[in-house]
Amino acid sequence: MILTLSWLKKHLKTPANLNKIIDKLTNIGLEVENIKNVNNASELFKIAKVVKVEKHPNADKLKICDVLVSKDEIKKVVCGADNVRPDLYTVHASPGAIIPKSKLKLKIAKIRGVESFGMLCSESELNISNESAGIIDLKKNSNDVGKSFFRDKDEKIVEISVTPNRPDCLGIRGIARDLSAAGLGSLIDIKKISFKQKKPQNIKVSISKDRGQGCLSFGSCLIKNIKNTESPKWLKDKIISLGLKPISAIVDITNYVMFDLNRPLHAYDADKIDNEIIVRNSRKNETFDALDEKKYNLEGGMCVITDRSGVLGLGGVIGGKRSGTELETKNIFLESAYFLPSSVRKTSKALNIDTDAKFRFERGIDPNSIEEGLKVATDLILNICGGEASKFQITGKKNFNKKKIELSLNKFKKTIGFSITANETKKILLALGFKIKTKKSSLTLEIPSWRPDINQEIDIIEELIRIKGFDKIETIAPNKIRERETLTFPQRLFHLSQRAISNQGYLEAITWSFTDKKIDTLFNPGEKPLTILNPISTDLDVLRRSIFSNLIYYLKKNQDRGYQDISIFEIGPTFYGKNPGEQEIVIGGLRSGKFNKKSWSEKTRGVDVFDVKADVLQCLKELGLNEKQFNVNADSKNYYHPGRSGSVVKENKTLAFFGEIHPTIISKMDLKEKNIYGFEIYLNNIPLQEKKLRLLKGNFKVSDFQKSERDFAFILNKDYKVGNLKNLIRDVNPSVIKFVSIFDVFEGENLPDGKKSVAINVTIQSDEKTLSDNDLNQICKSIIKIVQQKTGGSIRS
């Protein structure tokens, strides 16, 4: 919504200056978004007089004019207009001016060899109208020469962001009313208007009884024998200040009333109406040529204004071309109606039309403003265009009941925290247009019909504190008491794993939850993608089913920027269905290139599967799971390299996958650095622990007794999974076997085919005593026996 001080002052008697008004507007909920000038550098457009016109020596169509640009200053200006002639008063734009239409800045320039000081302007160039045939022909005299063409050159345009609950403030008068309630002046009564209205309005108007009829009331006036014309300057200025283009007096007047009183109107050329007006539901496949030069195919059930030949307009949305007014229009049929917000909204959404009228009707117009709108507009038309007005005709509902709300006087304190007196309450509400009946501990309020947003007691509280000022609300410091734990167990897992993986050297990425179907399918072949109906682009058209879908894309982006050695991770939702809740939290990471950078102290090496395996195990450890609680096996998903990947499983639930990313995916994605490993940990599969996290880890115990280490080498079958050995050996005597490490694995050399050698180091320590050689030998014998039994292998030498 747009506001100028001069326009506001038509409705508000106030000594306040613009700055004070702007502050107040924001404080009462009418947020000022922007303040700008009507026309930047408007003083560069001046009224000037053409003194002499000569032919341009080098161009047939151009003329060189002597132009009086101020009382005693004549400049040479080149002009191509046909209507330029001596003694013509017109608008001269000096060098430096920015032409409103083209937004080009004028410079002193030679035109076909002759220097021109600025230019003479047409209405079109100044965005005043579409008239571009000649330069402006002003009816002025020599006293006006040198004056600024744009009046109100210091007038500021205030842009207000009106929230959708306040349709009344989409008119200047509504804003003035709010300001007056907030103590910034008094609302000026609308002056009594009277004009002769002899004949009845004789075009028949009917509102059909269709189901869901969107029009409740239709007011009309027939104005005959008018002379439609250009608007007078004051009206043009107003229309221009709204950012609109003046068209003709009739159109400008309806726009003016809409912005002045928030009362949309529509003017029809009465001679183009076929017999009668019928407001009814549209029929399927009816078509309509609208004023926006578009042809619309209507669905059934839209509220349309029709005559016997068809649709004339979409109620409350847009008028039609067939009955549009022109400068030649003689007789006007003026409409002032009430359309239901839901009807206007439905039609405009279906057809994707946005107009100022639609914007207002869908938020709710004062249903009791029909007659006032007709009155104000008709009066202006009679004054500017002449003619004779008919009596007003109101078809449909004549009176709209006003809502009543009971306001308990202690409700304000209960909600806001401090008291307001009954007197102040009444004063504010009266100024806002409420009618009040006082009771002992409450007020019975009649709600003004222009306030569709006020429906219950709490809405009145909002009005009171809004006008009183939010700065009056106390600040009660919060208590620092915590009665519940901040995080649940799964939330804690989220944080712990995020930190664990970051500590492993990964950068956290936050990517979008939607992704490119083509990439997503690489990680979920054969399953149905989760399509978004209205994606922002075709490459972000599905919900991600894998944490890798976006991560690999950003890995590629970074590789393309010249980085090869990258470790990135993301923790967030992946989706497995379109219903709410069909999502799970996954933490996934990708490593590419070298594990370490070139360094003075070490050689570099490529990332390998044991890096990502370590990342997974370390993360699980941080989440309270030790290696005894899960198994690592070679099963994995088909987007991993089948020979270099695995999974971590606990009780039939997969906790994680890890491994080399499948070479097919790497080549399909066209990744430059092809050594890429990844992992995914499914946090939802981590068993929920009722216990506190600190209780998950075993008691911290240190043995005081001597530890011993023993090495073993076993010959095992080549395909034996060495990972099992650790738990196997530990289980021989868990109370004293503290640690098992595998320090060498090799095949070939002098080993038989199909065999491998595995060297193991076992740390043995008792919590109770120093173990004797005999004890140790017993334990070692048991280890050898069990390993040989369970693996079918043999001890070496």
């Binding site: 809004r466 008491i481 993986i501 050297g505 994606p535």
Partner: protein, 335 residues
């Protein structure tokens, strides 16, 4: 000078010239060895009578002890010199970089979610969650935003189903509904999470993060709301007495509704938060609308409270001086 004094003087002179352990050993043999000067003096003992013997042996032992002590001191000195020399030979350039390791980092948005959570944890809030895919009912209708409400236009919504019943949540407010529907008052929660709107340009991303807050109890007023947010803003920006204002606004799910601005100024193209004559909008809030309580089966006559919502990405950008969060998707930077 007696014979013994000569021996001692001779020893001290020689000792001072010794540089190595080997020479020191030789010196020791020269004086204390089988045929050493001191040993030879002991051999003279048989020439003396008892009294002389006594006298002589005292002197001789004194000299022997003194020599021993000097030798041992000299040995320590030589060893110390040797170690110092060895260490000085082992000197390396300590300014060389450490062995390379990949450095992990938490995303600034995650960082800020943690910071905000711990601030609210301090004053008794728990963290709640809800799904990213929501029903139209939870996202709009239950939040007092019926189907033909123009406020729905302010949320450009991603839909997953043709009938528009299933969507990507446009704000974290549906978590209010889920929390209240499944629990009993009082409620005191914050809910950070991903939110989605299908407009994208330099200032709007199709996905962003919000944090919802809800406090419902019997006597919670707007003064508590103001106190809570004032506390949060001071803690978050780490500025005491930060300039803050509540400005009336409109959200369908709160009444009265307010937007909260903080003061700032710009100096040398840098933004300074906390004072100055410009205002920056940072969050929206208000008293929970009675219709929202009713829609969640809470008795609106008995319970009341406030809710707030803030854009986390923006807060992260403000606090850490980040111009465009999308630059974080270009993760790696030099240096």
């Amino acid at each position: 000078m007696s014979e013994l004094d000569k021996i001692n003087k001779n020893f001290v002179e020689k000792l001072n010239k010794i540089k190595t352990k080997e020479d020191l050993q030789n010196l020791k043999s020269e004086f204390l060895g089988k045929n050493g000067f001191v040993t030879n003096e002991f051999k003279k003992m048989s020439q003396f009578n008892l009294d002389q013997k006594k006298e002589f042996s005292i002197q001789l032992n004194e000299i022997k002890n003194s020599i021993n002590e000097n030798l041992s001191n000299k040995l320590k000195e030589i060893e110390k010199d040797e170690i110092n020399k060895k260490l000085s030979d082992e000197k390396i350039d300590i300014t060389l970089p450490i062995r390379s390791q990949q450095e992990g980092k938490i995303h600034p948005v995650s960082q800020v979610i943690d910071e905000i959570s711990s601030i609210f944890s301090e004053i008794g809030y728990s963290v709640a969650e809800g799904p990213d895919v929501e029903t139209e009912h939870n996202n709009f209708t239950a939040l007092n935003t019926p189907e033909d409400h123009p406020a729905r236009d302010m949320h450009d919504t991603f839909y997953l189903e043709k009938n528009k019943r299933i969507l990507l949540r446009t704000h974290t407010s549906p978590v209010q509904i889920r929390t209240m529907q499944k629990g009993k008052p009082p409620f005191k929660i914050i809910a950070p999470g991903r939110t989605y709107r299908c407009d994208s340009d330099q200032t709007h991303a199709p996905m962003f993060h919000q944090l919802e807050g809800l406090h419902v109890d019997k006597e919670i007023t707007m003064a508590h709301l103001k106190g809570c947010l004032n506390y949060f803003i001071q803690e978050f920006f780490e500025i005491k007495n930060i300039k803050m204002r509540f400005r009336p606004s409109h959200f369908p799910f709160t009444e009265p509704s307010a937007e909260v601005d903080i003061g700032y100024r710009i100096e040398n193209d840098k933004i300074f938060i906390g004072d100055g004559d410009k205002w920056l909008e940072i969050l929206g809030c208000g008293m929970v609308h009675p219709n929202v309580l009713k829609n969640s089966n809470i008795d609106a006559n008995k319970y009341q409270g406030f809710a707030f919502g803030m854009g986390i990405d923006r807060l992260a950008m403000l606090k850490y001086g980040i111009n465009d969060l999308r630059s974080f998707l270009k993760l790696i930077s030099d240096g």
